[in-house]
């Protein structure tokens, strides 16, 4: 049943994806009215699916890859909605919707989720670790979205292209969103990594640090910090900030993919 709800959510998110694609072809108006309610419903079904899955398993479980993907997408959508309410704009969706769609779609495909039951995953520290890391990711996603939007808007203003000037968001607002989402995500990411480290030290000793997944995670954290630092010190915006955010995003994808290379972060089925 959770899978059914998730698939319904995916269907709604597909509207978001379509909207993003249409926007690129400058036909976004076609869906502008329905996209917000659609992804809103998507979020509700998504939530139902997550809750039901958790109840079904009887506890919070991070062991399923599909479940984790679904959860990450959910957190990203929640962060998106926080900014949607705060700034009355769904423009960020252009970038967020496709990411969320891909994550939930992959998650919903799984007929038999690979459930791994490792004693390591029963600790409540795991809960803190995963929830925080995912929120940090979500902040990064939104910031990445804002960077891309900033770049597009800046290009439009410089090219004096009137079509893109119709965007309701000002450069300043996009900039604020990008910065605030970074600020929002950073502490979560930091504490998430600390929680993970504590767990890993307890289990594997100080050597856990040499694991590729962990290394990549820390590199991502440093890039995250760099993003904030360049902004504080020299007010990096636009192209340079977008490049850096893209870099952070790519590393984040790498971290995600690195599960298979990891010894520490891999939990073989028992």
């Amino acid at each position: 049943m959770p899978l059914v709800w998730l698939r319904v959510a995916v269907a709604f998110y597909a509207v978001g994806l379509l909207y993003s694609l249409l926007l690129l072809g400058k036909k976004g108006d076609l869906l502008a009215r329905v996209v917000e309610p659609a992804v809103g419903f998507g979020l509700i079904f998504h939530f139902v699916s997550l809750v039901e899955y958790t109840v079904l398993i009887g506890r919070l479980s991070w062991a399923s890859i599909h479940y984790s993907e679904s959860l990450l997408a959910f957190v990203a959508m929640v962060v998106f909605f926080i900014f949607f309410v705060g700034y009355r704009t769904s423009s960020l969706g252009v970038v967020i919707f496709p990411i969320v769609f891909v994550l939930t779609f992959a998650s919903a495909l799984g007929q038999k989720p690979v459930t791994i039951t490792s004693p390591a995953l029963r600790s409540s520290w795991i809960f803190v670790h995963v929830a925080m890391i995912f929120t940090g990711y979500a902040g990064l996603f939104v910031s990445f979205g804002a960077s891309v939007l900033y770049l597009m808007q800046e290009r439009a203003l410089k090219a004096k292209s009137m079509a893109l000037l119709e965007s309701k968001l000002s450069l300043q607002t996009i900039d604020d969103i990008g910065y605030n989402s970074l600020l929002f995500g950073f502490p979560f990411m930091t504490f998430g990594l600390i929680a993970g480290s504590v767990l890993a030290i307890a289990k594997y000793g100080p050597l856990f640090f040499t694991d590729p997944k962990i290394l990549l995670s820390f590199i991502m954290w440093i890039v995250y910090l760099l993003l904030l630092y360049t902004r504080w010190s020299s007010g990096w915006r636009g192209r340079r900030a977008a490049l850096l955010a893209t870099f952070a995003f790519v590393i984040a994808l790498g971290v995600w993919a690195a599960n298979s290379l990891s010894r520490v972060h891999r939990f073989p089925p028992i």
């Binding site: 800046e154 203003l157 410089k158 004096k160 000002s170 450069l171 300043q172 020299s234 007010g235 915006r237």
Partner: protein, 440 residues
Amino acid sequence: MNLIVIGVNHQTAPVEVREQFAIPEARLPEAVKCLASQPGIEEAMIVSTCNRVELVARAKEPNADLSGCLQEVYGFDTGPYRKYLYEYRERDAVRHVFRVASSLDSMVVGEPQILGQVKEAYATARAVGAVNSQLDALYSRAFAVAKRVRTETAIASSAVSIASVAVELAKKIFGDLQGKSVYLVGAGKMCELAARHLLAHGASKLYVGNRTFERAAALAKKFGGEPISFDQLYDTVDHADIVITSTGAPHTIFRREHGEKFLSRRRNRPMFFIDIAVPRDVDPEMNKLDGIFVYDIDDLQQVVASHMSDRRVEADRAEAIVQLEVDKFQARLQTLDVVPTIVSLQEHLETVRQAEIDRVRGRLGTLTPEQELAVEALSRGIINKIMHTPITTLKSAARESSESTTIVDIVRKLFNLRDARKSEKEESDAELSAKSGGRG
């Protein structure tokens, strides 16, 4: 009301033809007088602008032909130009007059000048006595319609001037202009206008730099800004988020290297340069720097032009308003058709009442003032009761155009009001102008 409009405009005639028909301002009173004095013409006015020349007339006969008058007014054979002329009558003419005044027929839809031009033409015609009753009513209504269109649609609200485009662009960059500062380089009129707009939209601080410090000081004082001497220009410009330049300098004042310096001092906070000088004050190379946006006068004009298409949408809404107003105006004209009949009915019954009172006065003997009043009230009460139904019927019939003439005829026949009919036209005119006068 036998209204006729004949003319040429930017859509029907090329400029060479419009030139032929254009009437210079100085000659306009004479031309209007000439038109109004043509046989068969009751009232007239002429609108002559660079995009249109229109003769508006109210004729005695419904099928009156204005082409003869055209010849008289212009003194040359207008025959060859016939294909460039448009002509509207009655309802279409009313609609056309409303559309012109509302700037819906303009080359740049929504441009504000046309209303002023029509008002001037109207004043001229009025001054020479060419407009007196019905055209008066028509035009006061047209001005009201124009105002309504202006307030109820965004036809004129999208950026019209360079100054408001500047504000709009600044908002695209900075969002809220609250707390943003503006730097004027040069103290020209355009600069001042743009600054006024920006300040009105929330910009809080103004700097004025000018070659002659006194002028800078004068302008700064006007807006509560800060005058800055020109040799400090490069050290202070980066204080501002928006820079408007309009100096007469023969070469660029701000170049790429300046921009780089500004950005590093501002820690990459964006800057918006509005260059309205020709030749330009800001090197277009600066636009390539991240965080600096440069718009010159041509770019601004291009934005103005792009708003024209937005106006088309609003224009459709405006057309709907005009249509509604034409219907209302026509309905009012029809009501006015029955007004003379109502008036003569009232007069007729009043005469009867007076005559009857006079007739029986001898037999009544001397009456106390109270009795006098009672007789007065009694007789008035009777005729008012009698008149009530016919008047209501007339008024409601007026709303159904097909019925009104029949009912008017019946009432006139029933009460034998035929004698009054010949003066109907004059009365109707007087009524119309009285009403329109009352509405301002």
